[in-house]
């Protein structure tokens, strides 16, 4: 086992041992234990090991179709999302555009990412579903959006921003002097692109592809609204099995099947891509070349595509906004604020609960994330690969799997947590700290160890060095992690839907409720409020770090 071996014999700093012990205890309790209980319910029937649950699930043709559909959907979304993400990233990094336009692209791209998962699907149905607004506007005849196409479109729109962010970072990191050199040596733009830019960004593209594949595989909200009955996928099947058929065991088994491709994707990413170093950050490169275009024709095409997609996203979101301000959608379009009154009266508890849970999770998850990220980056730590893998496990697994595992683990047995706020906080913190951990590990790798050593040899303690030297250097990674934690704690639904209780409800679950209860305008108002809260929180987090570390320089 590669993970278990540690050939490093250096002694570990004693002061780290208590931190390490607490971390392992927590990971054991909130990552490994629920997973064990899940495996137990899938494989153990009446005290003995059996595959009968699995085979039973697969005798059902509908479940076999769900597995196949999940894989087809994930592949298609990964292809289209990566393509779109690349186009957007290329425009952002290689085409000279006014700053305001670039900012605008960035803001639009973030929208689907920060908005609650059901909203884009709902907006999409209203826009291009049967009798949709956009179809009427353009005079296109009806087609049935439910099924593969609708789900694919909604997921592509939701997840391409992830590819965009990944690829923009990669394209930015490619030393543009190489491209300049090629062009000045007489190479055409296209030739430069496909002999230099494309090969250098290939691992980034593969990474984005796998990320999107994983996202789509794990997505629950979009298929729930868009897939209908003709296109069952595993996540919704697992959910329906539990909520509809009263069958926890069947749902657990289905989610176990989902676990296999998810783990495969992670391992592929880990061994194949992360091993290769493609980022050419040396800290020593000369002046950045100005952005190189792709040729007028291609540039126009790219910009046209970007404009269309951006306009489409703006259209979808203005529909949500408009919907939140009218009396009866489609019948009485007079302006009203009563939906917001509803949100702030009936929904007050949910807003309060969600905020409390998100803030607590962000804080807790960040502390855990910083500890793990820092520890994992230390070459002298025993079992550090195992620590990293364990800490990322809940994130690698689809939300439905983790949610079901938590239900199974904490409903009965030694630790009963159902109905408390803590179970939701623990889920968010131990699942969504992953982005922070990854960013911190990546950022730690870029820090020359001599900086820390210098501090230590000047007599500073390890803790002082950590807080005064290391933390300011990894601050951007920490804020990235915090922002992600907050956003996802506010918007996640797949795992949390199993954990909400009479006492603790969440905004996303309320939105789903509103949607199922036909309160479309109220759902829209809830979504608008949620997006605003998320934006405000992102601002506060950024501001906080500027205040605490005024001297840290933005990377770019």
């Amino acid at each position: 086992m590669k993970y278990l071996s540690s050939n490093n014999t250096k002694r570990l700093d004693r002061s780290l041992i208590p931190v390490l012990a607490v971390l392992w205890a927590l990971l054991g309790l909130f990552v490994l234990y629920p997973l064990m209980r899940l495996l137990y319910i899938v494989f153990i029937v009446e005290g003995s090991f059996t595959l009968s649950n699995l085979s039973e699930v697969f005798t059902n043709w509908y479940n076999r179709k769900a597995l196949l559909d999940s894989l087809i959907l994930a592949t298609s979304v990964a292809i289209s999302g990566t393509f779109l993400g690349f186009i957007f990233a290329f425009a952002e990094t290689r085409i000279s555009l006014p700053r305001i336009v670039k900012w605008f692209i960035g803001a639009i791209v973030v929208l689907p990412f920060v908005s609650p998962p059901f909203t884009s699907s709902i907006a999409l149905t209203l826009a291009i579903g049967p009798n949709g607004l956009l179809l009427k506007l353009l005079g296109i005849p009806d087609f049935n959006i439910y099924g593969f196409w609708g789900t694919w479109l909604a997921e592509t729109l939701t997840y391409f921003p992830i590819a965009f962010l990944t690829l923009a970072a990669v394209l930015n990191a490619i030393d543009q002097n190489l491209e300049d050199a090629a062009m000045s040596m007489g190479s055409s733009r296209w030739r430069t692109f496909h002999t230099i830019t494309l090969p250098l960004s290939a691992p980034g593209i593969a990474n984005a592809f796998l990320l999107l594949f994983g996202c789509s595989l794990a997505d629950f909200a979009t298929p729930l609204v868009m897939a209908g009955h003709t296109f069952p996928v595993l996540t919704t099947q697992a959910y329906l099995q539990i909520t509809g058929m009263y069958d926890l065991q069947g749902g657990a088994t289905l989610s176990f099947i989902l676990l296999i491709p998810a783990l495969l994707v992670y391992l592929l990413q880990h061994y194949w891509i992360e091993k290769r170093s493609y980022v050419t950050v040396t800290g020593k490169s000369g002046g950045r070349g100005s952005a190189r275009g792709a040729g007028t024709v291609l540039e126009t095409l790219i910009l046209l595509l970007i404009s269309i997609i951006s306009l489409f996203i703006i259209f979808l979101y203005s529909m949500i906004f408009f919907g939140s301000l009218v009396k009866v959608w489609g019948v009485d379009n007079s302006f009203t604020l009563e939906n917001y009154v509803y949100v702030f009266t009936v929904g007050k508890e949910a807003i309060k609960d969600t905020l409390l849970i998100a803030v607590t999770s962000t804080f807790l998850g960040s502390v855990i994330g910083i500890c793990i990220g820092y520890l994992v980056s230390r070459p002298d730590l025993p079992w550090r690969k195992t620590l990293e893998f364990t800490s990322l496990l809940n994130y690698v697994l689809p939300g439905t799997v983790v949610g079901i595992a938590y239900v199974v683990a904490f409903n009965s047995g030694p630790l009963v947590l159902t109905g408390t706020m803590f179970i939701i906080v623990a889920l968010c913190a131990f699942r969504y700290d992953a982005a922070g951990i990854r960013a911190i590990v990546a950022s730690m790798q870029q820090i020359d160890t001599s900086i820390e050593e210098a501090s230590l040899s000047l007599g500073a303690s390890r803790a002082t060095t950590f807080f005064r030297v290391t933390l300011p250097l990894i601050a951007p990674a920490v804020t990235t992690g915090m922002r992600y934690l907050f956003v996802v704690s506010m918007t996640a639904v797949s795992a949390i839907i199993f954990l909400v209780s009479v006492r603790w409800s969440l905004l996303t679950v309320r939105i789903l409720e509103c949607i199922t209860e036909l309160l479309f305008a109220q759902a829209a108002a809830f979504s608008v409020v949620l997006v605003l809260i998320v934006f405000a929180a992102m601002g506060i987090i950024a501001l906080m770090f500027r205040l605490i570390y005024p001297n840290y320089m933005r990377a770019r």
Binding site: S15, L16, P18, V19, V22, L26, N60, W61, Y62, T125, L126, G129, P130, N131, G132, N144, G228, H229, L240, Q241, I242, T243, G244, M245, Y246, L248, V328, W329, G330, V331, D332, V346, V367, I368, C371, N411, S412, T418, G419, M421, F422, V425, A426, A460, S461, A463, T464, F466, F467, R468, L471, S501, V502, R503, E513, I515, T516, E517, L518, F520
Partner: protein
């Protein structure tokens, strides 16, 4: 910032204390906890009236019928709620052999006819809700159609990919649609009919009411709903047509029950007593909740709730509860395939 004074112990303590902080739970006061499948507005009207009259606070959550049942089963060893208010009677019957409910005969429940409650007190019916057709009036007019008046009418090719109705795996509405068909034409005939009907279905929605708004907005032509959801759309101002098949429909019984192992059984019984009174069922009309009271003494003035001209078929509720899972399996394997 004086961060340099921090030691690793502080880091450790921060970690620990933040975890404890997250774990602080709310102070336990005797409050009633409930699940319901009723919509927000309906449930709120009932529960707040109870709080107003008794001073007992109610924490409640709304889930679909199947979800309530699944939760009760998952939480059997550690029940999170004391009562279920307003799930379909057949779900309660399904849950009795699983030990999910405890018998309790609420005071005053003898005013409710016997066919609307369990003779052992496992569940007490609080409202009646028949199945109906709901169609977009403009769609009908544009296509020169009358509102359908028989099950066969729904097979009209004019409705191809135009109907929305509930998914049998999650929705009580779908269950009662199937039960209506089984009662009206016999089980095998009902399934072969649904296979034909499938061609006209645009999408099966997760919740029973889920298709109502799309139909009201004209995204779909129509579907099969509980009357309460159809009347709700009409009340909101949408132009829809409500009709019934002459071959008959069944009516769902919305009921309530005491959860077995409830943490606050006294509060739960108090609620069940209160909810069995005429007074509670009068809230329906006061709050514009379009349900038919199960207590015949409660007068209704809404003509939409008058069932005297509708062919309401008798339903063997016990059979329905016992055969629920089999009927759903059959729906997945024969209708969806």
């Amino acid at each position: 910032m004086t961060t340099f004074k921090f030691g690793s112990k502080v880091l450790f303590l921060t970690l620990l204390s933040s975890i404890l902080l997250g774990g602080i739970s709310f102070a336990a006061q005797p409050e009633l906890n409930a699940y319901t499948i009723w919509s927000e507005r309906y449930a709120n009207a009932v529960f707040s009236a109870f709080t107003e009259e008794t001073g007992i606070k109610v924490n409640w959550m709304r889930f679909s019928s199947g979800e309530v049942q699944a939760r009760l089963e998952a939480e059997k060893k550690n029940p999170q709620v004391d009562v279920v208010f307003g799930n379909m009677a057949e779900a309660f019957i399904n849950g009795i052999p699983k030990g999910l409910f405890e018998p309790y005969m609420p005071e005053g429940s003898n005013q409710i006819p016997e066919k609307f409650r369990d003779k052992n007190g496992y569940w007490t019916g609080v409202a009646i809700d028949p199945i109906c057709f709901m169609f977009n009036a403009k769609f009908l007019k544009d296509h020169g159609l009358e509102a359908p008046t028989s099950w066969k009418d729904l097979l009209n090719p004019a409705y191809k990919s135009q109907l929305q109705m509930a998914d049998a795996r999650t929705s009580g509405t779908a269950m009662y649609r199937i039960l209506s068909l089984v009662e009206a034409m016999g089980e095998d005939e009902a399934y072969s009919y649904q296979r034909d009907l499938n061609k006209n279905v645009q999408v099966y929605t997760k919740s029973g009411a889920g298709g109502a708004l799309p139909i009201a907005r004209g995204q779909a032509a129509g579907g099969i709903f509980f009357l309460v959801d159809a009347l709700e759309m009409q009340q909101k101002g949408y132009d829809i047509a409500i009709s019934y098949p002459v071959d008959g429909v069944v009516a769902g019984i919305e009921a309530m029950a005491l959860v077995s192992g409830a943490k606050h059984p006294d509060l739960a019984k108090k609620f069940l007593d209160w909810a069995s009174t005429e007074r509670m069922q009068r809230i329906y009309e006061e709050s514009q909740i379009n349900l038919i009271p199960s207590n015949p003494n409660v007068k209704i003035s809404n003509p939409g709730l008058d069932m005297s001209k509708v062919n309401v078929l008798p339903l063997d509720i016990k059979w329905a509860g016992e055969n629920r899972e089999r009927l759903v399996e059959r729906w997945i394997n024969e209708v969806l395939k």
